[in-house]
């Protein structure tokens, strides 16, 4: 599939230099590489600069509420598991207001792929503290420096039992595309945290460039839980790559299929009941 197949008529409204451009490129690249036709992809997003993602790429999309793209994505996937369902949203959206949905989607191992454009700030609302903002960071809501410790979403998710946790950088779209491809191929829930700097309110490009390294270059074993945790907790340097991966656990949708039977997906079976079944159901109580 060519990247052109995903070309939208809408120019992203992101600030020039915004990290999210790199993520857009990487997602297109990944979908093309995996040969997934645009009409079989649904991208669910929340509200934020990053959440404007659907519409900038020609696939199906649901640009919903702040913090709620994950349950929307699960509903889509449950109803029609033939679709590739991505979530693209910001750190505020996914690690703040919507983090509980991620925690529970991860533990259910719902087969959706969550790409978080983590800029450590609320971009669209003009630069307030986000859950990943740092101690002492000066923002519009922390004019004398933040007194709130940041969340470590990767460590929390790994602890929670997520089966695929990775981190990329928008400045490295090829590497990011590889991570997204692996996420899509993964059996179940995947989080790809992407350092995607906000050039307007909190530019961390230089810092990321200085501190980053690739886990795969250091012989990291992503099936090793404790190695993954160690990488997630690393503070001096910034590891990129697949932190953790567990392909042994069936996804929720695999288990669902076993329960209701293949092909009986909710989107395919909008059919009336016959009188016999109706009578049976009615007379259960009698």
């Amino acid at each position: 599939m060519s990247i052109k197949a995903y070309e939208s008529d809408t120019r992203p409204d992101w600030c020039p230099g915004c990290g999210d451009f790199g993520v857009l490129a990487a997602v297109k690249d990944a979908l093309a590489a995996l040969n997934i036709p645009p009409h079989n992809v649904v991208i669910s997003s929340g509200i934020g600069c990053s959440s404007n993602f659907p519409g900038f790429i020609k696939t199906y999309g649901f640009h919903g509420l702040h913090g709620r793209p994950i349950p929307v994505a699960i509903g889509i996937k449950d109803a029609n598991p033939n679709l590739t369902v991505l979530v693209t949203a910001g750190d505020g959206d996914e690690y703040g207001i919507g983090f509980n949905h991620m925690i529970h989607a991860a533990r259910r191992n719902d087969d959706i792929k969550v790409i978080v454009m983590n800029n450590e700030i609320y971009g669209l609302t003009t630069g307030q503290l986000s859950p990943t903002s740092r101690l002492k960071q000066v923002t519009k809501t922390s004019p004398s420096g933040s007194i709130i410790y940041p969340l470590n979403p990767l460590a929390a998710l790994i602890g929670d039992g997520a089966t695929f946790v990775a981190r990329g950088f928008s400045g490295q779209p090829k590497h990011l595309s590889m991570l997204i491809q692996e996420a899509i191929k993964h059996r179940g829930f995947a989080l790809v945290d992407v350092l995607s700097p906000c050039v307007t309110w909190y530019d961390i490009y230089d810092e990321v460039r200085k501190l980053m390294y690739k886990l795969e270059d250091k012989g990291h074993n992503p099936t090793d839980f404790y190695a993954a945790m160690k990488a997630a907790k690393e503070e001096e340097k910034l590891p990129l790559g697949i932190f953790y991966r567990d392909e042994t656990k069936p996804s929720f949708q695999e288990m669902l299929k076993e329960q209701i039977g293949d092909g009986r997906w909710a989107s395919k079976s909008v059919t009336p009941l016959n009188s016999e079944t109706l009578r049976e159901l009615e007379y259960e109580f009698s």
């Binding site: 070309e7 939208s8 008529d9 809408t10 036709p37 645009p38 009409h39 079989n40 649904v42 669910s44 509200i47 404007n52 659907p54 519409g55 020609k58 696939t59 199906y60 999309g61 649901f62 640009h63 919903g64 509420l65 709620r68 994950i70 349950p71 929307v72 699960i74 509903g75 889509i76 996937k77 449950d78 109803a79 029609n80 679709l83 509980n100 949905h101 529970h104 669902l256 329960q259 209701i260 039977g261 009986r264 997906w265 909710a266 989107s267 395919k268 079976s269 909008v270 059919t271 009336p272 009941l273 009188s275 079944t277 109706l278 009578r279 159901l281 009615e282 007379y283 109580f285 009698s286």
Partner: protein, 593 residues
């Protein structure tokens, strides 16, 4: 023996004593004997202890509500005796075990029969639970049922545990004997017709699945939980996907996601959970995603009385979420009604591409069974402007996007499903143009965008005008011309109906307007009905007369005489009657002076 047209039976005990299943056995006995029933479950938000009761109203004709007073009272505890004896009708009977209950002197009008429930039960088991069986069997005898139906019902009840079934049948035999000894009192005319009985949570569930719903999402909340129990119990057989969310927000968003992907999707909760869902109801309206959301009301505000009944959430449904958007609201009156409304809800949601809200309440949903006297019919499914194949219509494509929010004469746009080639679109909660481009963004405030926003808001809101015309007028029950017309909505229709029948048979001329299609109101059909009424009264279970307020606002009619009950208990027919007689007397008085 006195053959009557209806009887009422009430059991009372502590939570965990099995009173609910005893009540259900009683309901089954009667249903398997060709009578119509309506039950009520007076339970508490505690798992054990306290005081709970179960009420059965049975009749040879359809019964809708609690009936009048109590004909047979079975108090298993002193508290149950003390709480309920005063409701016993003249000619009524209290059957009690003196080892648990000390009776009062209630005069000659009420018989009090002593029966050794506990001692009898303990003969067959080391646990006292079978005292319920003994008591129920005794009542069965007192109301003139044969032992065969008792035996059959108990045997089927414990079909999986024949040992226990056998013990229960034996205990029942003794209890039945006590009843025979005392002699049959008030009895109905029985037959071998077997009528099913369900509550509105179940009939709504069956209606939903009948109409093609195979996606259900829930987070447990009383009194809506029976829906998720029903759905999960039938998931395998009927192929229902059940999403058990971490909260109500995920529940409704998953419902919206499933609907977006093409499922007929629904979720249910009670008021507090619904409060959390509101933002997403606006999302459904804005993205024009068809979902059905059920709110099974309980007594509030806030946590309130989780196991008690109320009709207090109408204002919430009318005011859901920010700014104006289209929605439909229904309030089935009872279990049979709920099936039909479930079916209509899914069609309306898809045909109008908007959220449909349904108000049930404890009284008719979790709290009370009612006989269904007809077989549910298979239904036709109308999915409106849903497109199933990929479009080739040029007008609907701009090369990239499908014209999902096309402005059309009927204000409803074509809707493709994800997965269909060449029909891509993005559903938007931001204001958008016909192609789903944001108007909030770099286009916001530009003249053309302002105009387009106007059109989009009009498109959405004008769906309401069309819908209005197909919303049903209230059902007029009783004679066409009456001295008093009682307005009710949803569950309050039931006690009104029962009271009306009794009052009319005593010579009054009363009829009733029962609303189940709540919003938008079909003004054109309603105004003549209300305006032509001689005099109006309204009955609802909330403090401020919320439905009365809606009528004032939408129709300009102010119904001053209102029976408003807000203590959590069901509305009794006798309360309706009392209020009516009160009004009528005043009427007469004012005519005299």
């Amino acid at each position: 023996m006195q053959e009557v047209k209806d009887i009422t039976i009430r059991l009372g005990a502590a939570a965990g004593d099995g009173i609910q299943s005893a009540g259900e056995i009683l309901a089954k006995l009667l249903s398997r004997s060709g009578t119509y029933i309506s039950t009520f479950n007076g339970n508490q938000s505690a798992i054990r202890g306290g005081h709970v009761w179960f009420h059965v109203h049975a009749g040879t004709h359809p019964v809708y509500s609690m009936g009048y007073g109590v004909d047979y009272l079975l108090p298993f505890t002193q508290l149950a005796y003390d709480e309920h004896y005063s409701l016993v009708n003249k000619g009524g009977i209290i059957i009690y075990d003196p080892s648990a209950v000390t009776a009062r002197d209630l005069g000659a009008d009420i018989s009090q029969i002593k029966s050794p429930f506990l001692a009898t039960a303990l003969k067959y088991d080391k646990y006292p639970i079978m005292k319920n069986t003994v008591a129920v069997a005794e009542v069965a005898a007192l109301i003139g049922l044969g032992f065969d139906v008792v035996e059959e019902t108990i045997t089927s009840q414990f079909a999986k545990k024949p040992e226990i079934a056998k013990k229960n049948v034996e205990a029942a035999k003794e209890g039945y004997g006590f009843g025979v000894q005392a002699g049959v009192r008030k009895a109905l005319k029985y037959s071998d017709k077997r009528l099913p009985f369900l509550h509105a949570n179940y009939t709504f569930s069956i209606g939903a699945v009948a109409a093609g719903c195979r996606f259900y999402a829930a987070y447990p909340m009383s009194p809506a939980s029976p829906i998720v129990h029903w759905m999960t119990a039938h998931a395998k057989k009927l192929g229902i996907t059940v999403f058990l969310g971490e909260d109500e927000i995920s529940v409704i968003n998953a419902t919206i996601g499933a609907a977006h992907a093409g499922a007929r999707a629904m979720c249910a909760t009670s008021g507090g959970g619904f409060a959390l869902m509101q933002e997403a109801v606006g999302e459904a309206a804005m993205t024009e995603t068809p979902v059905v959301v059920v709110n099974v009301m309980r007594t509030g505000p806030s946590t309130g009385l989780p196991t008690k009944t109320s009709q207090g959430d109408l204002n919430m449904m009318l005011g859901i979420s920010q700014d104006d958007f289209p929605r439909a609201i229904f309030a089935p009156r009872n279990a049979p009604d709920a099936y039909d409304i479930a079916v209509r809800s899914f069609d309306i949601a898809e045909r109008y591409q908007m959220p449909v809200m349904v108000l049930l309440d404890f009284q008719i949903a979790d709290g009370g069974y009612m006989t269904i006297d007809h077989d549910f019919e298979p239904v036709d499914i109308n999915r409106g402007k849903l497109l199933n194949s990929d479009g080739t219509d040029k007008e609907l494509h701009n090369g990239t996007w499908f014209r999902r929010y096309q402005l059309t004469p009927d204000n409803i746009s074509p809707r493709p499903l994800p997965g269909t080639p060449n029909m891509m679109y993005v559903a938007k909660t931001d204001e958008h143009d016909e192609w789903g481009h944001d108007l909030s963004d770099v286009l916001a405030g530009l003249k053309e965008s302002v105009l387009m926003r106007e059109k989009m808001q009009e498109k959405r809101m004008k769906k309401m005008e069309q819908l209005k015309a197909e919303m049903k007028a209230p059902e007029l029950v009783g004679q066409t011309r009456a001295d008093l017309t009682i307005v009710s909505w949803g569950s309050s229709a039931n006690p009104v109906r029962e009271a009306m029948e009794v009052m009319n048979s005593s010579g009054l001329k009363i009829n009733a307007l029962e609303f189940s299609d709540i919003y938008p109101l079909n003004t054109q059909a309603i105004v003549p009905l209300l305006k032509s009424a001689e005099r109006l009264m309204i009955v609802e279970a909330n403090y401020t007369s919320q439905f009365g307020g809606l009528l004032r606002k939408e129709i300009g009619i102010d119904i001053k005489d209102a029976l408003l009950k807000y203590n959590g208990e069901p509305i009794y027919p006798v309360e309706v009657e009392r209020m009516v007689r009160n009004i009528m007397v005043k009427e007469v008085e004012s005519h005299v002076h």
